[in-house]
């Protein structure tokens, strides 16, 4: 039985290439770079749809971007780790949006309701217990007695106040 098995694999060896398959190397690379590859594929799809809608060829796009047609071809395959500069050039050339501004407001961060992201300091480790904290231009500053809780508005860059539920250290 063993001889038969060996004989079988010997026969297989005779028709087997000495060049190894490249699948593993590529599969591992894909798994390691999955996050940005997905973004690259999304951009590639947007670019292809825009080209179709505008009846534009990859060569014409390459001319507008002042790059080689091969470069554009790499982009539409969805395997290019694109720079922000290239992305904005693509957006401008095709009149599409692939990057959107982060619309997350400070209110959505909801710091008060996320105690699991903070660690309470032991009382005896504190040099002093600030009763109130004042936020000024994005910095935490110890302040006097302020009682009102307000949300800091980054856009206005004004000094607002915020009363923490306890003394917290952000983890």
């Amino acid at each position: 039985m063993k001889n038969s098995k060996e004989n079988f694999f010997n026969k297989l060896d005779k028709i087997t290439s000495k060049e190894p398959s490249k699948w593993l190397e590529k599969a591992q690379w894909r798994a390691e770079n999955q996050a940005w590859l997905k973004g690259s594929q999304d951009i590639a799809l947007n670019v292809l749809l825009a080209l179709k809608a505008k009846n534009m060829t990859q060569r014409q796009l390459a001319e507008i971007l002042s790059v080689s047609p091969q470069q554009v071809n790499k982009i539409v395959k969805g395997e290019e780790n694109l720079t922000l500069e290239t992305i904005f050039k693509l957006e401008s050339a095709l009149d599409i949006k692939v990057i959107y501004k982060c619309q997350l407001a400070f209110e959505q961060l909801n710091l008060k309701n996320k105690p699991h992201k903070a660690t309470k300091l032991p009382y005896n480790k504190l040099k002093h217990t600030p009763k109130k904290i004042n936020i000024k231009a994005g910095k935490w500053v110890s302040s006097g007695n302020l009682s009102k809780s307000k949300v800091f508005d980054f856009d206005s860059l004004s000094s607002e106040t915020f009363t923490p539920p306890s003394v917290l250290k952000v983890a």
């Binding site: 098995k5 028709i15 087997t16 060049e19």
Partner: protein
């Protein structure tokens, strides 16, 4: 014709110019441009309703998502193989003909993508228990393989590979007998 080991003494793939069938297929289903062309060329099959109502963009996104899962699955099989564990190839691949329950010499086989009602197919010849030779793969948009050119091509590649293996006497009769008596 030549073959190349994917997992040594376990999974092989038919060689093609510049690589092999499995690597080339995995590359295709993660290439956005190729997918756009494929679904545009097969738009009538896509819109036939076999997979419900779906646009070309949705079809591309669905395939890319499934290709990522398939990539992960193959890496898992590779890890099992490297650790000397059962790769589970005999459950990954199934007979090409669903009703073919009897043991068949050099059986034409297929593996579906990981998603439920997947349209991704990898085709292979089962040489013996746990040993397969991949002949290609495609996105199957129709119920029957005889209904589109690209699936017909895969059928002919399966036949060609089986004939090639037969002509090189790649049949393990002992294992085949074990298979019959299981």
């Amino acid at each position: 014709m030549e073959i190349v080991p994917i997992f040594d003494k376990c999974l092989y793939s038919v060689c093609v110019e510049g690589g092999d069938e499995l690597a080339a297929f995995l590359e295709q289903i993660q290439d956005v441009e190729w997918l756009m062309e494929f679904f545009s060329n097969n738009i009538s099959d896509l819109e036939s309703g076999f997979y419900g109502s779906i646009t070309v963009s949705q079809a591309i996104e669905r395939t890319l998502d499934e290709a990522r899962q398939l990539n992960k699955k193959l890496l898992e099989i590779n890890s099992l193989h490297n650790n000397g564990k059962n790769t589970g190839l005999d459950s990954f691949f199934k007979p090409l003909i669903n009703t073919e329950t009897k043991a068949v010499e050099l059986q034409k086989s297929k593996a579906n993508g990981p998603r439920h009602k997947s349209w991704i197919r990898i085709y292979a010849i089962k040489v013996e228990k746990h040993v397969y030779v991949v002949t290609g793969g495609t996105i199957k948009l129709t119920e029957n393989m005889n209904h589109s050119k690209h699936t017909l091509l895969e059928l002919s590649k399966l036949t060609k590979c089986r004939d090639f293996l037969k002509s090189n006497d790649i049949i393990d009769s002992d294992s085949f007998f074990e298979f019959l008596t299981d």
